[in-house]
Amino acid sequence: MRAMVAGIGVALIAAPLGCFMVWRRMAYFGDTLSHSALLGVALGLLLQINIVLSVFVVAALVSVALLVLQRDDRLTSDTALGILSHSALALGLVVIAFLPGLRVDLMSYLFGDILAVSRFDIGVIYGGGLLILALLALIWRPLLAQTVSAELALSEGLNPQRANLVYMLLVALGIAIAMKIVGILLITALLIIPAATARIFSKTPEQMAAYAMLVGVGAVIVGLMGSMQSDTPSGPSIVVAALLFFLLGQLVGIVRSRSTRNA
């Protein structure tokens, strides 16, 4: 039951963040931040500080590093992301090797451990989630305008750069919060797949964010029930459920476009 509440919370956070990731073609950015989360985990264990905090700090630093690297015209965005993503992952693994006498259960960080969610974790998910959604609502207009055209946004008095920075930090925070539920390797899936599924049924950006939330929550419910019934790992089960929703959505999309063409 606690797992279900936590999972739903994470799905609600991930869906709107994921929509912007899809619109801005930043899926690889999500991957990069989640890879850097392993370094955050390692450092958190090493320094004995809260893991959510250390993951957020590392992911935020990686976001800023990306902004700096992107200023260099000689590096394309995906090269910069590739450098950051894999360096952070490698650094994380190296730091883990240094942890004295501590056997880290890597699997639970890589794939999530939703059944070990505590009351405190739920508090973090809903508290952090409310903060993320509130800030996202605040920057919604400039961020969306920048997604369409940064020049248009700028010439009409909005501040797209600030919105962009806030968005990157929100993704970093979202990943830190969601990590325990779906794990480092699968966070991007929870960001991207519900958004991509919702696209087929949406006419406006706001509609797409709302539908993505529904799909995400549905995937958590179906995935966790399946996982309990067949004793499969919870994180991957949620992602498989999301994939099923996506395929179903594609099917509906195909049928609908056929019928409108024949009409």
């Binding site: 619109w23 997604t147 369409v148 055209s149 248009l152 010439s155 696209r199 006419k203 950006p205």
Partner: protein, 272 residues
């Protein structure tokens, strides 16, 4: 319009307060290369100023300087205080993954009532598009929607960067007529950017021929009589010339600098 006087007011007064924006000797460089340099231009209220020139001649860069999207490394841009500017950027492509109807696009950067949105779209002849996804519009429809969007803020200056791209010939004429009509109606100034010559010349008050710097400028009639322009125009008509030459008293170098008198400049061919 029925109630027009012999000449619109903007042609009569040359008073300074009717200058909306003035660029004085502006230039921008990137990595030691001047993208544009020594550009002077003025846009008055009710005036259409057209920047023409081949690709890479710095037209969009100049527009961005005027819009304060770029900061000049040299010279200055003086805008009339509290000037409201409407902008139609060049080659705006909206990712297909973003669901966006025309109606939603209209209120992207600021809130407007349904009535304001409908009226703006009606003014540019794009009413029928209102509920359609922006990615499904034709080139002409999309440009009309962008124009309507720019009108919402009741601009005193419109900056239109290649407003007829992706539009067929007949649609091009209609769009330029619309732009001229909007100027008369809103009494705004318009800075128009084009690499196209024929139609622009008919609907404009001042032409500035740009090629990294101002090659020639003036009224269409005056510019049309300069050797630079005649060369430009002749090449267009002949259509077979891959390069057009126009006789300059100076030479363009790759680094954007200009030197020498009596040399011939080869401008890149125009795209058709």
């Amino acid at each position: 319009m029925a109630d027009t006087v012999a000449k619109p007011s903007w042609q009569k007064d040359s008073a300074k307060e009717h200058v909306l924006v003035e660029a004085r000797n502006i230039g921008v460089q990137r990595e030691g290369r001047w993208l544009v340099r020594n550009v002077d231009l003025k846009v008055h209220q009710g005036e259409i100023v057209t920047l023409i020139g081949p690709n890479g001649s710095g037209k969009s860069t100049t527009a961005k300087l005027i819009l304060d999207l770029l900061h000049p490394d040299e010279g200055q841009v003086i805008l009339r205080p509290q000037l409201k500017v409407g902008y139609v950027p060049q080659s705006l492509v909206i990712d297909p993954s973003l669901p966006l109807t025309v109606k939603r696009l209209m209120v992207l950067t600021a809130s407007y009532t349904d009535q304001q949105v409908t009226r703006a779209l009606a003014r540019t002849g794009a009413s029928s598009c209102i509920d359609r996804p922006v990615q499904k519009l034709s080139g002409g429809e999309f440009q009309r929607v962008l124009l309507a969007r720019a009108l919402l803020a009741r601009p005193q200056l419109l900056v239109l960067d290649e407003p007829v791209q992706g539009v067929d010939y007949a649609g091009e004429i209609a769009l330029y007529e619309l732009i001229a009509a909007l100027r008369d109606e809103l009494e705004c100034g318009i800075l128009l950017i084009s690499h196209d010559l024929h139609i622009v010349m008919a609907a404009t008050d001042t032409v500035i021929c740009l090629n990294g710097h101002v090659c020639c400028s003036g009224t269409p009639g005056r510019v049309a009589n300069t050797p630079e322009y005649r060369q430009l125009f002749g090449a267009r008509a002949a259509d077979t010339l891959a390069l057009y030459h126009h006789d300059h008293d100076h030479h363009h170098h790759d680094d954007g600098s200009i030197s020498g008198a009596g040399e011939t400049c080869e401008c890149p061919p125009e795209e058709t």
